[in-house]
């Protein structure tokens, strides 16, 4: 399906995006700093909740510390709030130039985002996690393979998030102004993914509905649960399998929506 030349183009795109982010050192520092401050706020509040009974929704304090700090690190890797260029290109019509290129629009979008995530993993992820390790009692996985599973889970989370944001961006073909769709995405992904609090503190039926019916827990709750070994390795594998399923569903959905969007596109002559 993918020829070697296409792969080479996509790799070059990912590399270019990596270098692009590497240029903005002040912004990277500022982002990591902010994630770290929020790490302290969230870590203290969750620990204070857990202090009453010694645990919170099945997480012991050390697991909560890991959950919060690694979550703050992942926030920039699994990019919820990234700047969106595609909707603006759809609105102005520049997307026509993208469609004329011999590389698929969705593949371009994903490759660029993987490059960005790679840069974030080396910078934005490291800083909050290091601060959390120094300042608090961190839960470290008991098994070596957990790290490998976590790495796979993070990659899948990035892909799920990219696919979701791609769908939001494609809505520009119908709506032109995607701010509304973006807001819905922000609210739903923030509350449903474990970003503000582990979703396991919610009622059981709601947790189940989120895991089965939405891709949101795959964005953050899944990799974090894998890392703190909640429910053991078997449960971790199940979570990763769920993420794979969501990637497949979202990519398929992306293909369908893209095909329809392109058919809708009208090139204004002139």
């Amino acid at each position: 399906m993918l020829s070697t030349s296409t792969v080479r183009v996509l790799a070059a795109l990912a590399g270019a995006e990596f270098r692009r982010y590497a240029t903005y050192r002040q912004a990277t520092f500022a982002g990591a700093f902010t994630n770290t401050v929020f790490g302290f706020v969230r870590c203290y509040t969750l620990l204070s909740v857990a202090a009453v009974t010694g645990q919170m929704a099945g997480y012991d304090p050390a697991q909560l510390v890991t959950f919060v700090w690694v979550g703050q690190g992942l926030l920039a890797v699994v990019n919820y709030w990234g700047q969106q260029e595609l909707p603006e290109r759809v609105r102005t019509g520049q997307v026509v130039a993208d469609l004329l290129r011999p590389v698929d629009l969705m593949a371009t979008f994903v490759a660029a985002d993987v490059g960005r995530a790679g840069h974030a993993m080396l910078t934005r992820f490291v800083v909050p996690v290091a601060v959390g390790l120094l300042a608090f009692d961190f839960y470290l996985p008991a098994h070596a393979w957990t790290y490998a599973l976590f790495a796979v889970s993070v990659l899948l989370a990035v892909l799920v998030c990219t696919a979701c944001r791609y769908l939001v961006a494609l809505s520009a073909f119908w709506l032109l102004d995607v701010r509304g769709a973006q807001m819905v995405w922000l609210v739903a992904s923030g509350a449903g993914s474990g970003l503000y609090f582990p979703i396991t503190v919610l009622p059981d039926w709601l947790v189940l509905a989120l895991w089965v019916g939405t891709p949101f827990p795959s964005l953050m709750q899944a990799p974090l649960d894998v890392l703190v070994e909640r429910g053991g390795t078997g449960h971790g594998l199940l979570l990763v399998a769920g993420q794979v399923a969501w990637v497949l569903v979202l990519v398929a959905l992306g293909r369908v929506v893209q095909a329809r969007a392109v058919r809708r596109l009208v090139v204004q002559g002139g």
Partner: protein
């Protein structure tokens, strides 16, 4: 004197409410988005029925003061964050050329009426909190009930201005201000007993975020600070707000004098 400002302001409001449907959606969702903070506090609180040794009604009072002060500040001066765009593009030249205050111009030029929804939301929460909390009503407490959200708003406004001013030196570090504006809002809404170590000393008392909601709420409830702050300090939030505002103003002036445009 205020005429040109009010003209700028009304022009801005008219232009932004021109597309009514889009404005309505924006207003609605930006209000929903802020209620996520409240949902978070409520979810955390409901795990054990207490937060940092305080019960629900007490925590709600702190949340209420913070939930009203922050949107007030955000509505009034939140746009100052866009200063970095003005500095980067050199548009700040035009701002300086006009015979009006640069700060007030910045604030009025990008005034965002969609943020008004959050002020309404914050007011409702504050009133509900006041009706339910065991407030020790007296004339002085009445005064504090009215002044506390305004002092909090002045405080947050000063924080907005202070960190936006950094853009005169470093343009790309804008996100740092989020740590203190949005981060400060999160810190203020919780009892300070939740936090610990140097983080509490620095954020709550050093930077003064305890004065926004926590200390005034304690004064209204007639409770001493379990962390040992003297009782009279609980009433000092208007003074701290004033002090921080003066500091931010001085920093802003230094920043404006430091501005060197973009060159050609």
């Amino acid at each position: 004197m205020a005429k040109p400002y009010s003209k700028l302001l009304t022009a801005q409001i008219r232009s932004q409410t021109q597309y009514r449907f889009s404005f309505g959606i924006d207003l609605f969702f930006s209000t929903v988005l802020t209620s996520l903070d409240l949902v978070t506090v409520w979810v955390l609180f409901s795990v054990n029925g207490s937060l940092g040794g305080f019960g629900g009604r007490e925590v709600l009072l702190m949340v209420g003061i913070a939930a009203l002060s922050f949107p007030l500040a955000d509505l009034a001066v939140g746009n100052v964050e866009r200063l970095r765009v003005f500095v980067r593009t050199g548009l700040f030249d035009a701002v300086l050329l006009r015979p009006l205050s640069p700060l007030v111009q910045l604030v009025t030029m990008d005034f965002a009426p969609r943020r008004a929804g959050r002020v309404v939301q914050g007011t409702v929460i504050y009133v509900v909190a006041l009706l339910n909390a065991p407030v020790q009503w007296s004339p002085v407490v009445w005064g504090l009930v009215l002044v506390a959200p305004i002092a909090g708003a002045v405080f947050f406004g000063a924080v907005f201005v202070f960190f936006a001013t950094v853009a005169f030196w470093w343009i790309d570090v804008g996100e740092i201000s989020n740590a203190f504006t949005y981060g400060g809002k999160d810190v203020s809404a919780y009892p300070m007993t939740v936090f610990g170590g140097w983080f509490r000393r620095f954020f709550a008392y050093g930077m003064g975020f305890a004065f926004v909601a926590y200390l005034p709420a304690l004064a209204m409830l007639g409770r001493p600070d379990p962390l040992g702050v003297p009782d009279w300090v609980r009433w000092c939030s208007p003074l701290t707000a004033l002090l921080v505002a003066v500091l931010a103003g001085l920093f802003w002036r230094t920043g404006v004098r430091h501005y060197r445009s973009t060159g050609s």
